[in-house]
């Protein structure tokens, strides 16, 4: 065993010395390889973590959200719709919701304004998400001025700031009392933004949605299962788009690796010939090259993945931020809960390490089984 280990170490000594002779080329290859694994792993980790978190959090979303459509656009729902829905068998509760968007010219950001269904916020007070507090530089007790639909300024005191840990769902949220909401947007009593239905039997959700459509044909139900599917699909799509963009980079890398691995230069061929002439066996040459492939791709995989992990989970993926941020001023600054999917890790390994090692070995094997005299000529 000791003999075997010593032998492998000598082979590694030789391999690294040979790599060091073409330092710039090989260092460049390792850097590009690591960068490629880093970007692909970042995308996979980010999407997987977001998908997992979305799947868990949105289990709490309403079972059915009902929107009213007028000429293909969202419209306010009259209160008598709520009464009509209450009569449907299997519906446990029906609640009209009040929510909307407010563009804040001071911060040049969009807020989601909502009347919370579970608590009463006193008139003149608001509860805001951490993103709004950060964007506006506001603290608890400060007064925020908002312009109502009639142009009048409405002054609202910040009663509470929602915790930073909840940023993934509440960063841009502004909770306000019903009277203030109606004053702000000029929505008269008896009108709601949409309606939320709670269903007694989860299996009946689709049937109930169909009944709702029969009773109120100008509405559009959005089911919780659709919300969950939306997020599943969105991240698959996004992952797909980024990976598509990376195909170019991937192909460039394949060409680089292929050129390096398969197009054995005359120097390398002569080297193999000399090694065989001085007594190396084909197996030794192959083991040496196997070490080369394993060291280069193993390092690139381990380092690339580790860097991706810290990039996504410690630094909140700053490289993706510009893409996600778009033109929004209020950017939700949330930290994802670290999660690594074993299957994803295995496929990343399979698609990055194995092809490289294979591409290194095949041409070397061809050169190594040839007569040294011919190789050296």
């Amino acid at each position: 065993m000791r003999h075997w280990i010593a032998r492998q170490r000598y082979l590694i000594d030789y391999t690294v010395a040979a790599l060091a002779r073409r330092m710039a080329k090989n260092a460049g290859l390792v850097a590009v390889y690591t960068a490629l694994v880093f970007v692909v792993a970042s995308v996979l980790l980010y999407s997987h973590a977001l998908k997992r978190e979305a799947g868990f959090l949105l289990q709490g979303a309403p079972e059915v959200v009902l929107q009213k459509l007028t000429a293909g656009r969202h419209d306010l729902v009259p209160a008598d719709y709520v009464e009509k829905l209450q009569g449907i068998r299997g519906v446990r509760s029906v609640q009209g919701r009040l929510w909307g968007y407010y563009f804040d010219p001071l911060a040049a950001a969009n807020f989601t304004v909502m009347v919370p269904p579970d608590r009463v916020i006193p008139a003149g007070s608001i509860v805001i998400g951490e993103g709004i507090a950060r964007t506006r530089g506001a603290a608890e007790g400060d007064v925020m001025a908002m312009r109502g639909s009639d142009g009048a300024l409405i002054l609202l005191r910040i009663a509470e700031i929602l915790p930073r840990d909840a940023n993934i769902v509440t960063a841009d949220l502004l909770l306000v009392g019903e009277a203030d909401f109606r004053a702000l947007f000029g929505i008269t009593p008896g009108l709601y933004t949409d309606v939320v239905l709670s269903v007694a039997q989860p299996r009946e959700v689709r049937t109930i949605a169909e009944k709702v459509l029969l009773r109120l044909p100008d509405t559009r139900p959005v089911l919780r299962e659709e919300i969950l599917r939306t997020y599943e699909a969105v991240f698959d799509w996004r992952e797909g788009i980024v990976l598509m963009l990376l195909v170019g980079a991937g192909l460039a890398f394949v060409i680089l690796a292929w050129e390096k691995a398969s197009g054995l230069s005359a120097d390398e061929q002569r080297e193999i010939g000399v090694l065989k002439a001085v007594g190396w066996e084909t197996g030794d040459v192959l083991t040496m090259k196997l070490w080369e492939g394993a060291l280069v791709s193993g390092f690139a995989f381990l380092a690339g993945f580790s860097l991706a992990y810290w990039h996504v989970f410690t630094f909140s993926a700053p490289l993706f931020a510009p893409v996600l941020k778009g033109w929004s001023v209020l950017y939700p600054d949330f930290r994802l809960t670290p999660a690594v999917d074993g299957l994803q890790l295995a496929s990343l390994f399979l698609f990055t390490v194995v092809p490289y090692v294979a591409a290194t070995l095949v041409p070397v094997w061809r050169a190594a089984v040839t007569d040294p005299d011919r190789v050296m000529r």
Partner: protein, 104 residues
Amino acid sequence: MRVRQFRFSDMALGLISLALVAFILALLSAAGASAEHWTANRQIVSTLGLTDLCIVTEARYTRHLSQADGHAAFQDHPMALEHFPSGAILSPPPHLRTHAPLDR
């Protein structure tokens, strides 16, 4: 005193070990990650009746993606083009693309 000779294999194995330690630390950190705040956040989602994650805030239809309809991106004026960057990377909800019976 015998001076230990520099060996390339020490350097290579040292580098690989460093990368391996970083990799194992990453896996351990993922395994030990606490998702305690998830339950609290799901509670917020369920009490407020939230339907979407706050990932993008620039456009209505990307902020509340599941509530948007297929034409939301083009509703600003007739012949309007979809012009928000986030619209390019977020796909429309699948229930709109499949034209499910409940779709309007």
